[in-house]
Each structure stands twice: as C-alpha cells, then as structure tokens.
C-alpha cells in the first residue's frame, strides 16, 4: 500500500494538469473558430483567382512562361508547413514523417530533395536532420499574413527560376474536418496548363472573348507568382486550422486520461485510508483487550 500522503499529492497534481488541459482545449476550440473564419474569408479570393486563371490560360501558350517550364526533375524543393507550437498530438510528427518518407523515396530514385521550413516545429526538426534546408521562417503561424506567403513564394520562385530546383512541392496539414487532419503533398511549380484550367469554374465564362489589357501573356506573367502565393497562403491557413483542431482533440483526450487516472487514484487513496483506519481500530481493540486481561 502506498503512503496516504503520496497518493494525495499525486491526486492534487493530476487535478491541476486536468485543469490546464481543459483550458487548453477550450482555447484551441475558440482559436479553431477564428482559423476557420479566416480560411473561409480567404476562399472566395482563391476561388475567384482560380476562375480567372482558367479563363486566361485558355488563350496563352504555356511554353513561353518560365514558371510553367517542365524540366526533367532531378532536384525537388519541398515547402514544409507545420505549426509553431507543440502539444497538438501527432500533427506535426505526421507531417515530418511524411517528408522523411518522401525523402527516402526520392533519394532512392537518384534525385535530391531540399526544404523550405515554415513553422518552428519543422525548422527545429530539420535543423538536426541531414536534409538540406534552403530557407527557414517561423513564429508566423499565430497571425498568418499574405506578406509571409509572399516572402516564401518569392523564395520558391527564385529558386525555381534560377534552375536550382526543377520542381516545388508543398506539404501541409490538410483540414478535412475537426477530427481528421492529414498531411498532403501538392505540386505547385512548374505550373501546368491542366491544373490552371481544371481548377476554375469552367461551366461559364471560358467561351467569352475578353479584351485584355495589357496582353494576356503580360497579365499571366503578373498573375502566376500571385497564384503560387495564394497556394502557399491557403496551405498556411489550413495548417493553422488543422493544428488547433488537432490540439483540441489531443487536449480532450488528455483531460479524459486525467479523469481516468483520478478515478483509479481515488480508489487507491480510499483503500489506503480504510487500511489505516482498520489498523488503528485493531490497535485500539488490542490495547483494550490487553487492559481487560
């Protein structure tokens, strides 16, 4: 039987932990709501953008745009988007594992892979790994701004255009619903005509003959980098929402685990207390018997 006092301390400690995890759960829930609103606020912009891109790409020739240049893929740049903070279950670990798996596969094919790390968790992890990191950016996930996406996009585009890399991919935690978040890969460079056309609402508008000002090529040249930025931006927004959802679930689990532990510890505590009382009673009875003797 453990000592009564030890068990009491343990119960106290777990109760405090439970309070913290409960609070974190509630904070994550409210932050998730914020992140989801942000995501929803961004989606009309992204949708409309895709629609215009698909209208535009019908009337241009992809071969003359450097961002659409298909080269033989030897070097791949992967943009890893994770959260800045931990305590959100296996969320970041899943993303990082996915990247490691991809790395193994790519290396076995005789190609090479480098990274752009977004979010402190990715930065910290890949600092210690032997994968080359081109660019790091962290402490931005609490307030995702289009400027950050721009900076990252700029990096990716410069690397791609200087032919340091032949392909750019994006890895992030896709927000499927509150209970499910999955790391997914998305190829963002080179852009292909098919992806541009396929994304928009093709039902109407494609057959309209637009007046372009300046020339369609010039407009598309302006829009392609923006398109890359938008992809990165929505990946970041989704990652933030996924992170909060994941934290919510894991903190909920932690709270429940605390409750279970408290139950079993209380049982042990009561047993120990009962044992002490019985022992004391026996002592008293024994003493009384001896006196009677």
């Amino acid at each position: 039987m453990p000592a009564l006092k030890d068990v009491r301390f343990k119960i106290k400690g777990i109760k405090k932990t439970q309070q913290i995890t409960k609070a974190m759960n509630m904070v994550a829930a409210s932050k998730l709501r914020g992140a989801q609103t942000k995501m929803e606020g961004f989606s009309p912009y992204a949708d409309k953008f895709s629609a215009v891109m698909s209208n535009l790409s019908g009337s241009v020739n992809p071969s003359q745009f450097p961002l659409m240049a298909q080269r033989q893929v030897k070097k791949i740049l992967v943009i890893v988007v994770t959260s800045d903070k931990g305590l959100c279950g296996a969320f970041n670990a899943n993303i990082i594992n996915a990247v490691n798996r991809l790395n193994k596969e790519i290396v076995s094919q005789g190609k090479s892979l480098s990274l752009i790390c977004v979010g402190r968790k990715a930065v910290q992890f890949f600092k210690k790994s032997n994968i080359e990191v081109v660019y790091n950016i962290s402490d931005i996930m609490s307030d995702v701004q289009i400027q950050f996406a721009k900076t990252i996009g700029q990096q990716a585009i410069t690397q791609f255009l200087s032919e340091n890399f032949d392909e750019v991919q994006l890895v992030y935690g896709k927000f499927i619903n509150v209970a499910v978040q999955r790391p997914i890969f998305k190829k963002i460079l080179p852009l292909s005509k098919e992806t541009l056309v396929g994304q928009g609402e093709t039902s109407q508008g494609t057959n309209l003959t637009y007046t372009f000002e300046p020339e369609p090529d010039a407009i598309l040249n302006n829009l392609l980098p923006l398109y890359v930025n938008i992809q990165i931006m929505s990946a970041m927004l989704e990652t933030v929402a996924s992170e909060q959802a994941s934290r919510m679930t894991s903190m909920d689990n932690a709270t429940r685990a605390c409750k279970d532990m408290l139950g079993s510890l209380t049982l042990i505590y009561n047993k120990a207390r009962q044992a002490t009382i019985t022992k004391e009673l026996m002592d008293i009875v024994g003493g009384a018997e001896a006196l009677k003797g």
Binding site: G41, P44, E213, I219
Partner: protein
C-alpha cells in the same frame, strides 16, 4: 437597376464590397479606366492606386494595392491584396509608413540593391496612395 453594374471587391482577408453601382473608375496597369453598365468582357491587371465608384449619386473611394480585375456579364470583380475605404484608413499609420519607406528607399538606392529599391518604391507608392485617398 438596369443601368448598374455589379461590383465585387475581394481581398485575401474578406469581401470588401458586393453590390450594384453606377460607375467605377479603376487604376489599370495601362492607365486609369472607367466602367459603366454592360461593359465588354475585360480583363486587366491593376496598379497600386485609387478606385472610385459612384452609387446613388454618392462617390466612394478606396485605396487599392496590386491586383487585377475581371468584367464579364455585367459584373466587375476586383481582386486586390488590399482595399481600404477612404474613411477606414489610419492616416497616422500611413504617414509613418511613408516615412519608413522613404528612409528605406534612400538606403536601398545608396547601396544599389535593385530588389530593395523596387520594394521600397512599392511601399512608398502604397503609403502615398493611402494618404491621398484618405485626405479628400
């Protein structure tokens, strides 16, 4: 109603405007252009500048930065990185941004960094536009 065009302004953070208006004037990259109802399908990129629109005889002004606009089937869609109504502009912040941009521009020019010069110039234009739009 028949003589109006539907104007929609969207930025990454929110939908700024979505309503029929009488006339729009926008800063196209090849020059300022005006739009009335039943405009021909049109697609253009936009510069940093001022977007004006008229509705029920009243004028509204917005400071716009980098984007593009599409006009089709009597609907004008403006996608911009930022769009602020003249009355929402924080003039103090704009003035500070202007000072900052001027200083950075000086530094960039003296150190001959083309990228930084371009960036500083862009932020200076943005700040000046915001000051101008909020001023009148």
């Amino acid at each position: 109603m028949a003589n109006k065009i539907h104007l929609e302004i969207i930025t990454p953070s929110k939908q700024v405007l979505n309503q029929p208006v009488e006339m729009v004037t926008a800063p196209g990259s090849d020059g300022v252009f005006g739009v009335l109802a039943n405009h021909t399908p049109f697609l253009t990129s936009l510069k940093i500048g001022e977007l004006k629109y008229q509705n029920d005889g009243k004028n509204f002004r917005l400071a716009l930065s980098n984007g593009f606009c599409e006009i089709s089937s009597n609907k004008m869609t403006v996608l911009a990185e930022a769009a602020e109504f003249s009355e929402d502009i924080d003039i103090d912040r704009a003035l500070k941004a202007k000072e900052r941009a001027e200083k950075r521009l000086q530094e960039a020019i003296s150190s001959k960094e083309n990228i930084n010069t371009a960036r500083a110039q862009a932020s200076l234009t943005r700040a000046l536009t915001r000051i101008r739009v909020s001023g009148k």
